[in-house]
Structures are given as structure tokens and as C-alpha cells.
């Protein structure tokens, strides 16, 4: 249904207009009035000018200034007033248009961004990042000209056209019929040519997205390009994309540019036909048929021709805006695509609340108590139960596949009790990261159950579930801002001291204080000016400051040296005492002291136990642990 709505061109214009009206419920009508007022006011001074000239023409030979002085100055005075009105209304509407144009762009940006935040992970995994960015750049750009220039022009022209049309009917319906024929011809051509233009503009916007996607990806991997001397290759690829973008946008503009002259000349031809028809009507003395009931005569044909001229002139004005309008529609279409993109589903109703403990009872309260509980409303009897947040995680017979037919996890069952440290090891691609993706519901399981503190995680609101699980991801992502800002991301109201304490806890303080501006060193481009291990340390500190009941460390220390890692571990152990920790690591020294080590292979759990038990078993873990020596 949504796509139908989007594909329909008229629907888009209407929706766009409705949205702008919603953004500016007062200003937009005022602007419309101002624009029309301005158009009317600006056309009046010509009348006064004619009058003045007429007076001068009549009396210049007399040489008597005083006789006409009053009359002329009066007219000039009125003229001046109209000029002032025209200037004032012009300034007002131009100023307001500046607000409306930029404001609309801003609101659309925000709308897109807000919806983007709700989309599932899969969306960014499967879409080119630059292509998504293109919505915010190329597509938003198309709206600018359409709103600021085409919209006022179209408004004025359409009002003029409608008024003129009404007067035409008033004068003579026969001649109006000729004009209607012309209008039909214009509409037909507009549909044909304009349709072609629209098609290509949509392709142009897509091609722009493609280009931006390619460029973004290449620039992100620019260092890899350098290392592989891939410059020429990527230039060639870019040329191809650029060329097809050029073709699309040339076609689009060409259609639009041709439409203008065609409409103009249909207008000219129309003018001729009106003149001829008028002549025939005059000669044959045909009876007039009009609202005014005036008889056919020269006094009808001549003004009618003038009106036709005005009619055509306005259509000419409109045709200048065709590019902008059609392109704007193409852009709007894509913008609405992103706004309408289906958000991540969340049917959870169990929420995380602060509680107070009073003689064994959990009482919900507003203030931060440091004790959290799951608030579980039961729809059957309307009662509410509270379960204290503990961090007990259990998986029952979980199956999962990213793409149909390619099962990644088979029948995985495991439990982690509060205070336990659970480690996942196993060959790469065994499905370790996947398990963590399921725990915080980046992806939903196909079969089986996952329970958090005894509650099926499908019932928990996603935001609350994720708040209850801290994560350090395998791929480090830092944001533009200072080191301090990045650490504080884990807990927005953390004080500087808390952030520094967290950094100290995980052993990041040492290198941070050696940075040029210490904690206030700016991080840009995902930490390009830091070493890989330093980036990982910051992301660990970020998770530490959040202080969650369950923590997942996915290869969090893979690029960190052992000495620092030992500090990280000590810190984490202290922080997560009595809480649940999941660790994924290939360096077995990282996982050795875990309470439970789970060995995964091709999505199945094949061994579990602690370090000594697994070594004694002489199975897969033993092999992994000693593998290097065995090969020799």
C-alpha cells in the first residue's frame, strides 16, 4: 500500500504540500496571500502610468504646469503607494519563503533521520552507506529550488491562468473552446514529455545515490586503494558510474528543456488559431455564446486575443520551472521512501523500571535507586509483577539463519547465571558474534527461546533489553568528539571524574593522558589518529562507564597487548563482580579464567566446561589451545 502511495506522482505533490502546510500551518497561508497580493499590486502601477502619460500628452502644449500639477502629483502619489505596497509585500514574502524553504529542508532531514534511527540493523548492513547519505544530500537539494522558486511562480501563474480563463468564458465560449483544445494539447504533451523527464529524473536521483555510494565507499577504503595501487581501476569504475549519471541527468534535463519551447509554441499556434477562429466568427457573423451575453464583435475578439497572449505568457513562465518541479518530485519520492521505510518491529511490553525494596516487596519509583526491575504487566488478569534485574541469561534450543537456507546456529542451549563469566571460543565463523546479535535482538531468532531473568526477550521492550546488556563490539566505532565525549557515550550524565575512573579501570588512562590534549583530544574519522588497540580501549571504557548488569565483550581486546589486557581484565572482573559477562576471544589467555567455556563449531555447541575440564577432555578446545605446537 505504501509503495502505491509513493509511486503516484500527484500523490507526492499533494503529500509534500500537506507536509509543508503541517510544518507551517500559519506561515504558508500567509505567504500564499502575500504572493498573490504582490502579484496583483505589482500589475496595477501600469494603469497609473498610462493615465499620467495621457494627461501629459493632452496638455504639454499648454505649458501650464499648475493646471495639471495637482492631478499628476496625485497620481504619482498613488503610484508611489502602490510601489511601496509592492515592495513591502515582496520583502515580506521573500523573507518568509527563506524560512519556509530552509525550514522544510531541515524538517525533512530530521524526519528522515528520526526514521532511520528506528530501522533494523539489516537496513544498514544491506544498503550502501553513501546511498543512504544521498537522501540527505542530493534528494534534499532537489527540494530547495522547487520550494523557493517554482512554488511561488506556479502559484501566481496558475491563479492568473484560472482568472484569465474565467474572463474568457465570460466573453466568448466559442473562442474559449479553441483555447481548451490548446490546453488539452499542452496537457497531452506535458504528460508525454514530462513523463519522460520524470522517468529520467528519478533515474538521475538513483544514479546520484549510486555515485555517492561508490564515492563514499572508495574514500572510506582510500588507504586500501593506495596499498593495492587500485587508483586507476577505481577511476575507471567511477567513470562508468559518472557517465551513466551524466546520461540520465542529460536526458532528464533535455526532456524538461524541450518541453518549454514546445509549450511556448503550442501557445503561439494557439494564438493564431484563436485569431483565425475569431476572424471566421466575425465574418460569418456567428451568434455569440457567452456568460456575458455580449454580441460577437471586434470588442470581443481583440481583448480575447490579449488574454490569450497573457495566458500563453504565463504558461511560458511555468515552463521555466519544469526542471525544478520534476526533479523535486523525483527527490521527494526518494525522501518519502526513506521516511516510509518499515521500522524495526517491537512488540515488547515488559519494561525496565527503578524500584525500592520495602520488606521484601519491590515498589516502583521514579528516582534512581540503583536497583532495577522488570515490570511485567499480565494482559490476562491486569496484574503487574516485578522481577528484580539480575542478569540471568538462558538460551533454549536456538536456531538461526541470516538468509533462508543458510542456518548459522543449530540448537544452541546455554545458561549464564549472575556472577558467571561465560566464554565463547571456536573457529572463525562458528557463530559467536551471531549469538550476541540475538541476545540484544539485532536479529530475531527463528526457533527456540531466549530468556532474560526468566522473561522471554521477545516480550521485553527492545530499548530496555539493550539497556540491560552492555556491549563491546568486534568492530570498533567511535564518534566525532573528544575522547571524554566518547567515553561518556556509555552514560550520558557521567561526570568527568566518572569517565576518567572508567578509563583508569580498563587501563586506557595511560595512553589517553599521553595524547596531545589528554581527555580533550578530538577524535575524528572513527579515530584515524589513534592506533587500533587504543580505539578498542576507548570503546571498552565506554562500555565500562555504562555499568550494565550483563556485559558482552566480543573480541574486545584482540588488538590490545597482553599487559594492557591483563589490566582490562582485572578492571572488568572488579566491575562485573556478581554480574554476568560474556567473552568472545581467540587468544585463549583471555578466556582461560572463565567459569564456563563454550566451544562452538559450525553453529553447534560441541564442548562446555571450565579450562581444566576442557583440557582434560583432550577435545576441540585442547586442540585449539595447543594447536600451534601440534603443527610443528
Amino acid at each position: 500500500m505504501k509503495t502505491n502511495q509513493v509511486k503516484n506522482k500527484k500523490g507526492i505533490i499533494l503529500r509534500l504540500f500537506k507536509d509543508i502546510l503541517e510544518f507551517y500551518p500559519v506561515m504558508l497561508p500567509v505567504v500564499i496571500v502575500c504572493i498573490l497580493f504582490n502579484a496583483v499590486i505589482s500589475s496595477i502601477p501600469a494603469v497609473f502610468m498610462q493615465n499620467i502619460i495621457a494627461i501629459v500628452e493632452k496638455s504639454w502644449q499648454s505649458g501650464d504646469w499648475n493646471a495639471v500639477k495637482e492631478n499628476i502629483l496625485y497620481l504619482v502619489f498613488i503610484l508611489g503607494i502602490f510601489y511601496i505596497l509592492s515592495l513591502v509585500s515582496g520583502i515580506i514574502y521573500n523573507q518568509m519563503m527563506a524560512f519556509i524553504t530552509q525550514g522544510t529542508l531541515k524538517k525533512f532531514r530530521v524526519k528522515m533521520f528520526n526514521n532511520m534511527q528506528t530501522l533494523p540493523i539489516k537496513y544498514v548492513d544491506t544498503n550502501n552507506h553513501g546511498d543512504i547519505m544521498s537522501y540527505y544530500t542530493n534528494d534534499i537539494d532537489t527540494l530547495r529550488q522547487m520550494i523557493s522558486q517554482s512554488f511561488p511562480q506556479l502559484l501566481v501563474s496558475s491563479v492568473v491562468v484560472i482568472t484569465v480563463f474565467g474572463i474568457m468564458i465570460y466573453f466568448c465560449i466559442w473562442l474559449t473552446l479553441v483555447v481548451i483544445l490548446g490546453v488539452i494539447a499542452m496537457l497531452f504533451v506535458t504528460k508525454r514529455v514530462g513523463g519522460g523527464s520524470a522517468k529520467y529524473f528519478i533515474r538521475q536521483q538513483k544514479a546520484l545515490g549510486h555515485m555517492e555510494g561508490f564515492a563514499e565507499e572508495m574514500m572510506n577504503g582510500q588507504k586500501v586503494i593506495k596499498v593495492f595501487c587500485h587508483e586507476e581501476e577505481s577511476k575507471k569504475d567511477f567513470d562508468k558510474i559518472n557517465e551513466s549519471l551524466f546520461n540520465d541527468s542529460r536526458e532528464a534535463n533535455r526532456y524538461a528543456n524541450i518541453l518549454g519551447p514546445i509549450l511556448n509554441n503550442i501557445g503561439n499556434v494557439l494564438y493564431v488559431f484563436v485569431a483565425i477562429t475569431g476572424g471566421i466568427l466575425l465574418i460569418t457573423n456567428a451568434p455569440n455564446f457567452s456568460l456575458s451575453g455580449l454580441a460577437m464583435g471586434i470588442s470581443i475578439v481583440v481583448p480575447f486575443l490579449n488574454m490569450t497572449k497573457q495566458f500563453v505568457g504565463n504558461i511560458n513562465q511555468v515552463s521555466h520551472q519544469i526542471n525544478a518541479v520534476v526533479m523535486g518530485i523525483a527527490g521527494a519520492q526518494r525522501i518519502y521512501d526513506l521516511i516510509d521505510e518499515e521500522p524495526e518491529q517491537d512488540n515488547g511490553y515488559v519494561t525496565l523500571v527503578n524500584v525500592r525494596e520495602e520488606n521484601g516487596q519491590l515498589i516502583e519509583c521514579k528516582e534512581r535507586t540503583g536497583i532495577w526491575a522488570w515490570k511485567h504487566p499480565h494482559s490476562s488478569d491486569g496484574s503487574v509483577t516485578y522481577t528484580k534485574l539480575a542478569g540471568d541469561v538462558r538460551l533454549f534450543n536456538v536456531d538461526f539463519e541470516y538468509e533462508p537456507g543458510k542456518t548459522v546456529l543449530h540448537d544452541v542451549s546455554l545458561y549464564a547465571k549472575p556472577g558467571q563469566k561465560v566464554a565463547f571460543v571456536g573457529a572463525t565463523g562458528a557463530g559467536k558474534t551471531t549469538i550476541t546479535n540475538l541476545l540484544n535482538r539485532f536479529y530475531d531468532i527463528a526457533d527456540g527461546k531466549i530468556r532474560y531473568d526468566g522473561i522471554n526477550i521477545n516480550k521485553i521492550k527492545k530499548a530496555d533489553l539493550r539497556r540491560a546488556i552492555g556491549m563491546v563490539l568486534q568492530d570498533t566505532n567511535l564518534f566525532t568528539g573528544t575522547v571524554m565525549d566518547n567515553i561518556r557515550y556509555g552514560k550520558l550524565d557521567a561526570t568527568d571524574d566518572e569517565c576518567i575512573a572508567a578509563a583508569k579501570l580498563v587501563g586506557a588512562d595511560d595512553f589517553i593522558s599521553r595524547l596531545p590534549d589528554g581527555y580533550y583530544t578530538m577524535i575524528t574519522e572513527n579515530g584515524a589518529n589513534l592506533s587500533q588497540g587504543q580505539r578498542q580501549l576507548i570503546s571498552i571504557a565506554r562500555a565500562a562507564v555504562a555499568d550494565p548488569p550483563v556485559m558482552i565483550l566480543d573480541e574486545a581486546t584482540s588488538s590490545i597487548d597482553t599487559r594492557t589486557e591483563a589490566i582490562v581484565q582485572r578492571g572488568m572482573d572488579a566491575l562485573m563482580e556478581d554480574r554476568t559477562v560474556f567473552v568472545i576471544a581467540h587468544r585463549l589467555s583471555t578466556v582461560k579464567n572463565s567459569d564456563v567455556i563454550i566451544v562452538l563449531d559450525h553453529g553447534r555447541i560441541i564442548e562446555r566446561g571450565n579450562h581444566e575440564e576442557l583440557l582434560a577432555k583432550k577435545g576441540q578446545y585442547y586442540q585449539l589451545y595447543t594447536g600451534a605446537f601440534e603443527l610443528e
Binding site: F228, N242, V272, H586
Partner: protein, 542 residues
């Protein structure tokens, strides 16, 4: 024709004029069509060339240049800025010839036909010029500022796309929304301010013309009447009014162009900045094209990333590596391991001292020739959207399928690729989003192996690979590429243990070099790392 109809209504005459008009219409259609189509080609072609020049220029950037520009900013320049310039250009070719011609013509005619009265223009024009000057003066810095903010806005969009997992796992959606809204508001505020000033252009021009009109109408009629048409006659009177109107129309057209150009000027400046940025690394005059062998030597090398930095990242490194040797590098986080190896393929130039490959200073090589012989698997590696095959062919675009499989087998990537339903044609999403960490790393290694280099550098490239696979990869490298000099950076001692020599890095300098046994005996740092990873736990327990 109107006159014809007014005069008498001879249908034949009307039809005659009609036919002439229709023919004219067709001519105008043809010319209009051709002009429209040509101008479309011209404007789009112009945009195409701008994008191309920018992209080409960026491809030639060195690492240092890349560090200097934000990718989001480069991208804004290739999109929004090009669009701005393209629009201005389109507008220019449409009216730039016509409007000024009309303007000049109208001015001249006003002076010729309008006589004395035309001097009023000399009063008005300076006012207009000053007004426009003020507008430019006010808006220019605003535009400059707003584009930087616009870059930042795009930066935050890009970061939110890439870091979506982080945003979601910390439940920071609302926080990000608020931040974005504030940034968008910032851009909006500045843009609106600039546009509001620009929006005064039209009224300013109108005002000037209105002043002229009122002056001519009042003072003109006075002069005519008092002088009885001697000083100023009625013909001149209406002529000057007509030409004034023409001037007004062409000024309005020019004001639109003016607005667009003001906006485009800043954009153009930003585009030119990208195109004119010269790579900090250039090929020497008479470059050496062949790399003799895989030997490497560092002679008193010191290095820092920016000239302004106080501390050297690498200090006084001296190192000789023989061709075919396997070197392991181990060391603390931030001890400049990555920085060290980036000097070998001349990704950066050493600040002091010389780096030699095959006995020749790297600065004397042709860059491409050098980099083709020195394959680096970067620590922060990137896979590109496309099939696995396409990604592998980065290493060697002419590689046969057998060579691809062979390289993947060496890198232990073959096993998992074969498990994918589409095998080597499996589509890799941007950044390898649909692969596991270890799978990505092994593909990156395979990609580098396809180059068949004389020197192979693995910068922490097996951190997400399990120990057994890691050992298998190293064994394969040893057996199949014995002549290649191999440099392996790792955090696991197991990964470097069997190297011919191990370098221990500490805070930007070499702390110790030697074979495993020797370092174990002599080097405190190495010993500590080794025991913490391997034996310490076991010894106490066993």
C-alpha cells in the same frame, strides 16, 4: 495581426499572417529544442567533469592528504557543491548572455532616446552597486560558515549509519536524534540568515527602478509641460519609461543569477580546494622501476604524523632485514608498530633518516612499482561491496580462478568460502557486514597474497582468527612463499614465535631484536608477554 483584425477583417490576410506565425513557431521550436538540449548537455557535462576531476584528484592523494580531509566533507563537495555550481551554470548559460545584453541595450537606448532624464540612472546605479556589495559582503562569510556546518551534519549522518550497532546497543537513538536536530537547526539558522539577506536583492533592484519611475514621471512631466516639450519631449518621455521597464526586467533576471552565483561561489571554492590539493608524495624524477629483492633497511629513521607534533612517533630506528626473512613484531598498544611498517611501502615519508627496500631509498622508486612489490594487509582493513571474486581481484586484476582459489587456500579462506551457497560469487556487503571478523581478515590476506609480492606485511591481520587457523596460515606462507620477506605484527606470541627474528617495540623505539629463545632469556617485555599468554597459568596448575 491585431491591427489587421481591428482594421477590417479580411480572413485571407489573417490566415496569411497565421501561416507565417506558425512557421515561425516551428522554427522557434526547433531552435528552442536544440538550445535546450545543448544546454542540458553542457550543464550536465560540466557537472560530470567536476566530479571526475575531484575523484581523480582524490585518488592521487597520499595517506597524509587523506588524513587531512573528512570523507563526509569530500562527499558533500562531490554532491551538493557540484549541484550548486551546476545550477548556477545552467542559469548562466540561459540568461547570462541575454540579460546583460538586454540591460546594456536598454541603458544605451535610455540615454540616446531619453535625453537628460537618463542621468538619473547615474544616481541610482551607484546606490544599487553599493547595496549589492553590502549583500555580498554580508552573505559570503555566512556561506563559508554554513558549509562547514553542513559538512558536520553529513558527518553525523555517516557516523550514525556506520555506528548504528553502537547507537542501538547503548540505546542512544533519542540522544542522536536530539543531536542531529540541533545540528540541522544550526545549518537551518545560518542558511536562512544568508538567504534572507540574499532575498533582499530583488526588492533592492525594484526599489531603485521605482525611484527612477517616480522621478521620471513627476519631474519628467514637469519638464515637458513647463518647457512645452522643448527640453524633453513626450516621445523621450515614453521611451525612457519603456526602457526603464526593460532594465527592471533584466535586472530581475540578473538578480536571480546573482543569488545563485553567490551561493555557487563558495561551492566552487570548495571544489577547487579538492582539485588543487597536491599529493604530499610524488614520484621522483627518474624513478626506479624494479625492486631487486625483499631486503629492507631502516637507517636512523624518525617519524611523526604531523609537522607540528612535538613527540616523534618513531625515534631513531635502525634495522636490517634480509630478503626472505620472516620477522615478527610484538609490542604494546600504541607502540608504533603500524607506523613502522607504513614507511616501507612509502605510505608516509620518514621525517628523518632513510628507509631502503632492495638497497634503494624508497623515495627513489616509482610508487606503483614499489607498492606492487610490498603487499600490506592493513590493520584497519576494508572489503568493498561486490562479490568475493571481485574483492580478491584487487590484488591482481588478471588473476585466473585457479590463482584465486590457490591464494584463498593459503589464507585458509577456501574452507569457508566453499561453504557459502554461492561460493566465490557470494556478495559481500559494504565493509563486509555479512561476514564474520575472522572471515574478513582471511579474505584480506588472500587479496594481498594475489599480488605475489617480494615483501608481505601482515599488520595484526589474524587477531580475529583462531590460533589453529593462524598457525596454518603461517605454515602455508612459510612453505609456499619462501623467498618473500614476511613481516608479521601480532599480539599473540604464538604468531611470532617461529619467526627468524622478533622485534619488540616499546613506545616508538626498538626494545629488543632476536630469536624467540634469546628474547625469552634477555628481554623483560617479551618474557612477560610470553608467560602471561602461554605458560604462566599452566605451570602453576600442571
Amino acid at each position: 495581426m491585431v491591427n489587421e483584425i481591428k482594421g477590417g477583417c479580411d480572413l485571407n490576410t489573417i490566415i496569411k499572417y497565421g501561416i507565417i506565425l506558425i512557421i515561425l513557431a516551428f522554427l522557434s521550436l526547433t531552435f528552442g529544442g536544440v538550445a535546450g538540449s545543448t544546454s542540458a548537455t553542457a550543464a550536465c557535462g560540466f557537472a560530470k567533469n567536476l566530479r571526475k576531476d575531484m575523484f581523480y584528484s582524490i585518488q592521487n592523494y597520499s595517506f597524509e592528504n587523506i588524513d587531512k580531509f573528512l570523507t563526509s566533507s569530500l562527499i558533500t563537495r562531490m554532491t551538493t557543491d557540484v549541484t550548486n555550481v551546476q545550477n548556477a551554470y545552467m542559469m548562466l548559460i540561459r540568461v547570462a548572455v541575454r540579460a546583460p545584453l538586454m540591460l546594456v541595450f536598454a541603458f544605451v537606448m535610455a540615454f540616446v532616446m531619453g535625453g537628460r532624464m537618463a542621468w538619473i540612472f547615474l544616481v541610482v546605479v551607484p546606490i544599487l552597486a553599493i547595496g549589492l556589495g553590502i549583500i555580498i559582503y554580508k552573505t559570503f562569510p555566512l556561506f563559508k560558515k554554513v558549509f562547514t556546518k553542513y559538512d558536520a551534519l553529513n558527518k553525523s549522518i555517516q557516523e550514525n549509519i556506520k555506528g548504528m550497532r553502537v547507537v542501538k546497543s547503548f540505546v542512544r537513538e533519542d540522544y542522536e536524534k536530539k543531536k542531529f536536530e540541533a545540528a540541522a537547526q544550526d545549518v537551518y539558522a545560518d542558511f536562512t540568515r544568508a538567504e534572507r539577506i540574499l532575498a533582499l536583492t530583488g526588492p533592492l533592484m525594484q526599489f531603485c527602478m521605482y525611484v527612477v519611475m517616480i522621478f521620471v514621471l513627476s519631474f519628467g512631466s514637469y519638464t515637458i509641460i513647463t518647457s512645452r516639450g522643448l527640453d524633453f519631449d513626450i516621445g523621450q518621455f515614453s521611451a525612457i519609461l519603456t526602457y526603464n521597464f526593460m532594465i527592471l526586467v533584466s535586472l530581475m533576471m540578473l538578480s536571480m543569477v546573482f543569488v545563485m552565483i553567490t551561493l555557487a561561489a563558495e561551492s566552487a571554492k570548495r571544489i577547487v580546494e579538492v582539485i588543487n590539493e597536491k599529493s604530499t608524495l610524488t614520484n621522483p624524477e627518474n624513478p626506479v622501476y624494479t625492486v631487486k629483492d625483499g631486503s629492507i633497511s631502516f637507517e636512523n629513521v624518525s617519524f611523526k604524523y604531523s609537522k607540528k607534533a612535538e613527540r616523534m612517533v618513531l625515534a631513531n630506528i635502525n634495522l636490517q632485514i634480509r630478503s626472505g626473512e620472516t620477522i615478527g613484531i610484538i609490542g604494546g598498544t600504541g607502540s608504533s608498530k603500524s607506523s613502522l611498517i607504513q614507511l616501507i611501502p612509502r605510505l608516509y615519508d620518514a621525517t628523518e633518516g632513510t628507509v631502503k627496500v632492495g638497497g634503494v631509498d624508497v623515495r627513489n622508486y616509482d610508487l606503483e612499482a614499489l607498492r606492487n612489490q610490498v603487499a600490506v594487509v592493513l590493520q584497519k582493513n576494508v572489503l568493498f561491496s561486490g562479490t568475493i571474486k571481485e574483492n580478491l581481484r584487487w590484488g591482481n586484476k588478471d588473476a585466473s580462478d585457479e590463482e584465486l582459489v590457490e591464494a584463498c587456500r593459503l589464507a585458509c579462506a577456501d574452507e569457508f568460502i566453499n561453504q557459502f551457497p554461492n561460493g566465490y560469487d557470494t556478495y559481500v556487503e559494504q565493509g563486509g557486514a555479512n561476514l564474520s571478523g575472522g572471515q574478513k581478515q582471511r579474505l584480506c590476506i588472500a587479496r594481498a597474497l594475489l599480488k605475489k609480492p617480494k615483501i608481505l606485511i601482515l599488520d595484526d591481520s589474524t587477531s580475529a582468527v583462531d590460533t589453529r587457523t593462524d598457525a596454518k596460515i603461517r605454515k602455508a606462507l612459510r612453505e609456499y612463499m619462501p623467498e618473500t620477506t614476511k613481516i608479521i605484527i601480532a599480539q599473540r606470541t604464538a604468531s611470532v614465535e617461529d619467526a627468524d627474528r622478533i622485534i619488540v617495540m616499546d613506545r616508538g623505539s626498538i626494545n629488543g631484536i632476536g630469536i624467540h629463545k634469546q628474547l625469552l632469556a634477555e628481554n623483560a617485555i617479551y618474557r612477560e608477554i610470553y608467560y602471561s599468554q602461554n605458560k604462566a597459568g599452566d605451570q602453576s596448575e600442571n
